[in-house]
């Protein structure tokens, strides 16, 4: 609303003062685009944008988009405006109207047309009205979306024209919604507004709720008000439902992260009984392996970047597994049966590993990129699902299944279970128990390394990465039941979901505390966790 008034004023000023002088030029969009050149204030830039919008010429969209993305430059020598793309130390420049290449220019000679958020918003609005008649359906769709949130009564007529000629049903529906949002704030008759309220009610998202609420507060007409209020209730119910769905989804997502972090520990602590405080550092090592792999790919084979995570997975397993193996052979095997000393020794190891990584890679965060399939989100009803979270859930379950298979279907798994259940008997049967111990510990560490690859996608890759997960991991394993993989799965998911349902009203800090207290109470009642190991071999 505010903006349209500003526009109107700008337009008025334009008509009064500028238009007569430049009437000839005003018709030529290419000349207006050139006005972006030279040092100017943000207000000047905004005035040029609205001038471009008024030309109604869709050809200026290229320059406007470049402006919004920060790719519009002017040459210092003659203030000519170009679209620039970084190429080493130079800029490749293109004509802002046609997009034709215009050679390369050293960086020092080009100045960026300065933009800030309000300028980007002005461009988006201008593009909305300009691209309503664009050739591509996707562009028209975006234009309709922009106009929907703008809700500008002046756009009703252009929208009517666009709706009449629109053939794509999806785009047409969006345009009608955009029209409805504009009608609500216009001075059209009440019946039309009531109809518009119905259209918004069908859209049923937060934005339409906002518009309807504002409309219901402002209107005097009882019919339209009633229609709006009915729509508000319906939308609120819809949103409440999706909020719950969203909480479940977030819970599963947090649960999968906890599962990944804890699943290696379920082996080293759960199966072997080693209190491994350096478990988080194994996760960190996995994340740094991913970083090294990505760096190597960036410099040597940029084409492989999309597959970097798949390359990193086996390497992270091997590196973390090897560190685990060295730890077990060099330290932990001397401390079996002495939990307190193991705890202190592994805590020391965790500090050594952290500082080692800090010395090698530096204390600051390392950038691990997301491949395309891990980026972005899609909408499911009113909830947005992030691809990276979705893949991490899938990945956590795959790792879980794989580990289950190793434990239950392979000779190593059989020996592991035999050794942990009755060491003496296993030794008597000819199993090399020290070797099995080493392999089990290496397996648990390797799995933690794999988790690090996944966590590098959502968390900082810094020397402190592991510390954030160690407490949660122990919580999951203890809660789920020591020595039981299924317990870890159920424990992780339960904690995730409980946490996410508490967070909206208790807050993140209190939510964590409440979860911790609940677990302590639970452990009082069932000291062996959700799924307790039963049978003769369980030590008293």
């Amino acid at each position: 609303m505010n903006r349209s008034i500003r526009w109107l004023l700008a337009g008025l000023a334009f008509v009064l003062f500028v238009a007569p002088a430049v009437a000839q030029q005003a018709a030529d969009p290419a000349a207006i685009v050139q006005k972006f050149g030279g040092k100017q204030s943000y207000d000047d830039t905004e005035a040029v944008i609205s001038e471009l919008a008024r030309t109604g010429d869709a050809n200026v969209a290229r320059a406007l988009r470049a402006l919004r993305d920060g790719d519009l430059y002017w040459r210092e020598s003659d203030e000519a405006v170009f679209i620039g793309k970084r190429k080493g130390d130079d800029y490749e420049i293109f004509d802002p109207m046609t997009g034709e290449a215009a050679g390369t220019v050293p960086r020092g000679e080009m100045q960026k047309v300065r933009v800030k958020n309000s300028i980007r918003n002005a461009v988006t609005t201008a593009l909305g009205s300009l691209t309503l008649g664009a050739d591509s359906a996707a562009q028209r769709m975006r234009a309709a979306e922009t106009l929907f949130s703008e809700a500008d009564p002046e756009m009703i007529e252009p929208l009517d024209a666009a709706i009449a000629s629109e053939e794509d049903a999806g785009v047409k529906a969006r345009m009608e919604e955009a029209r409805a949002s504009a009608v609500l704030v216009s001075d059209r008759p009440a019946e039309e507004k009531a109809a518009a309220a119905k259209i918004l009610a069908n859209r049923a998202d937060r934005e339409s709720l906002t518009m309807l609420t504002r409309f219901a507060g402002a209107t005097d007409d009882p019919v339209a008000k009633q229609a709006a209020e009915a729509a508000i209730v319906a939308i609120q119910n819809n949103i409440a439902f999706w909020n719950q769905m969203q909480n479940v989804w977030y819970g599963l997502s947090l649960g999968s992260v906890l599962l990944l972090a804890a699943i290696g520990l379920a082996i080293t602590f759960g199966v072997m009984g080693v209190i491994n405080m350096a478990h988080g550092e194994m996760v960190m090592i996995g994340a740094y392996t991913t970083y090294v792999v990505q760096e190597f790919i960036r410099t040597n084979a940029p084409g492989l970047f999309e597959y970097s995570l798949f390359i990193a997975l086996p390497l992270a397993f091997l590196v973390a597994g090897a560190v685990g193996l060295v730890m077990e052979r060099g330290l932990i095997r001397f401390l079996y049966g002495r939990p307190l000393e193991t705890l202190l020794a592994t805590f020391g190891v965790s500090l050594i590993l952290q500082q080692a990584v800090r010395t090698i890679f530096g204390p600051s965060n390392r950038e691990v990129g997301n491949p395309d399939f891990m980026s972005g989100a899609f909408d499911l009803g009113l909830m947005s699902v992030n691809w990276n979270r979705l893949w991490i859930i899938v990945f956590a379950l795959v790792v879980f299944a794989a580990l289950l298979a190793v434990l239950n279907k392979t000779p190593l798994g059989l020996q592991m279970r035999a050794v942990t259940q009755n060491r003496k008997m296993a030794a008597a049967m000819g199993i090399r128990t020290p070797w099995v111990d080493a392999m089990t510990f290496a397996l648990g560490s390797g799995i933690a390394g794999i988790a690090g690859v996944a966590l590098s996608q959502i968390d900082n890759v810094s020397p402190n990465l592991g510390q954030g997960y160690i407490i949660d991991s122990f919580m999951v394993v203890v809660f789920g039941g020591v020595g039981n993989l299924w317990g870890t799965l159920v424990g992780a998911m339960t904690l995730g979901i409980v946490n996410k349902f508490l967070e909206p009203f208790a807050g993140a800090v209190l939510g964590k505390i409440v979860v911790l207290v609940l677990i302590i109470l639970f452990i009082q009642k069932r000291p062996r966790g959700l799924f307790a190991q039963k049978g003769r071999f369980v030590e008293a």
């Binding site: 505010n2 943000y42 920060g70 300065r114 800030k116 958020n117 309000s118 980007r120 918003n121 988006t124 937060r206 934005e207 709720l209 906002t210 518009m211 609420t213 504002r214 969203q246 909480n247 977030y250 997502s253 947090l254 992260v257 500082q355 800090r358 010395t359 530096g362 204390p363 600051s364 965060n365 390392r366 950038e367 990129g369 997301n370 980026s375 972005g376 989100a377 947005s384 992030n386 990276n388 979270r389 959502i458 968390d459 900082n460 890759v461 810094s462 020397p463 402190n464 510390q467 954030g468 996410k500 967070e503 909206p504 807050g507 993140a508 800090v509 964590k512």
Partner: protein, 439 residues
Amino acid sequence: MRSAITWMQKTAAAATITAFSLSGAHAQDTKPSGEPIKVGILHSLSGTMAISETTLKDAMLMLIDEQNKKGGVLGRPLEPVVVDPASDWPLFAEKARELISQDKVAVVFGCWTSVSRKSVLPVFKELDSILFYPVQYEGEESERNVFYTGAAPNQQAIPAVDYLMGEGVERWVLEGTDYVYPRTTNKILEQYLKDKGVAAEDIIVNYTPFGFSDWQTEVSKIKEFGSAGKKTAVVSTINGDANVPFYKELANQGIKATDIPVVAFSVGEEELAGIDTGPLVGHLAAWNYFESVDTPENKDFIKKWHAFIGNDDRVTNDPMEAHYIGFNMWVKAVEKAGTTDPDKVIDALPGIEQANLTGGTSKMLPNHHITKPVLIGEINDEGQFDVVSETDDLVPGDAWSDFLPESKKLEADWVDLKCGNYDTEAKKCLGDTMAEKSN
């Protein structure tokens, strides 16, 4: 860790020796001689805070190196003494004591978190030494032995909020990490916003734990709060490591800076170095210095920094500039006092002026804070900030916020009143009794 420190000391010693040999090249410079003046550097080189503080240690070594090339101070060379308090707050106090009583340093540059500063305060008071503190903080403090070269809330938070109000923001999310700096800053901001006529339902304040990484619920809460039809902004006092996942989650949920801008007080060039800034373009930060500021002083500083650290990719940031200003002010004060005696230097410091790197001249005020410009920058796709707004004048740092009822009446003045918390209503100095209570 011990070996790391000795290694540091060796490097530092080597740097000093290089400085000696290099200074021979400048014929006009007098070669510093005599007993070296020791300068303590108290920054964590290991533990969680190493990420931010290591850079400051390097910056200090560079500044000392520079000064020795220029002929030292009072004709004597400077010698850095580096210790590692390892992000461990009680250890800060121990190391500070070691620096002052064993190494006999003339001055200490150090600390990052408020809790580390609070932990060393009693040591500096007891042993009567000088601390230069280079980080933006929550204010509500003014000590005789401490000089605050970072921003007080009125030099960062308040101007940032003013800028957003000018951009039409009407609804506010105050999002912070759960500790003293965000809590105090948000208390000040909340009061400020209410004074400006923002309704209580248009403000939410939210805290998350240190190192928080699962931002899904928090961000969708922000999204929902922002969909009420009024222009919404997030004022972020989120600290350190929690920032990266926060921004990643914003990008993932499709919240763009044009919809809901985030203005951060703890995110600078150094923090952006670890992330792809493409999705963050347009989000804001408020500081007193940006690496992108185009002044000859800044260009020179960046060039020297790159040469010193041997890596052209290393960025400069706000606390580094604070150390630059603080160090040069200390040098001037020592020259003025003609001695390194802390009492004399403390008395000489207020009124000292030093050109900052953004084109102005900062001045040490009687309340031991300095005047600084306030810059608002938008993140660009190269991990730098484009300045979109700048205060016309330098803003004097205010130790006691005018927006909190309990501190409104307090004033700090170590020149005339000789008091860090003078109650202008009761007309008396509250002294240590009050500091004790507020801790």
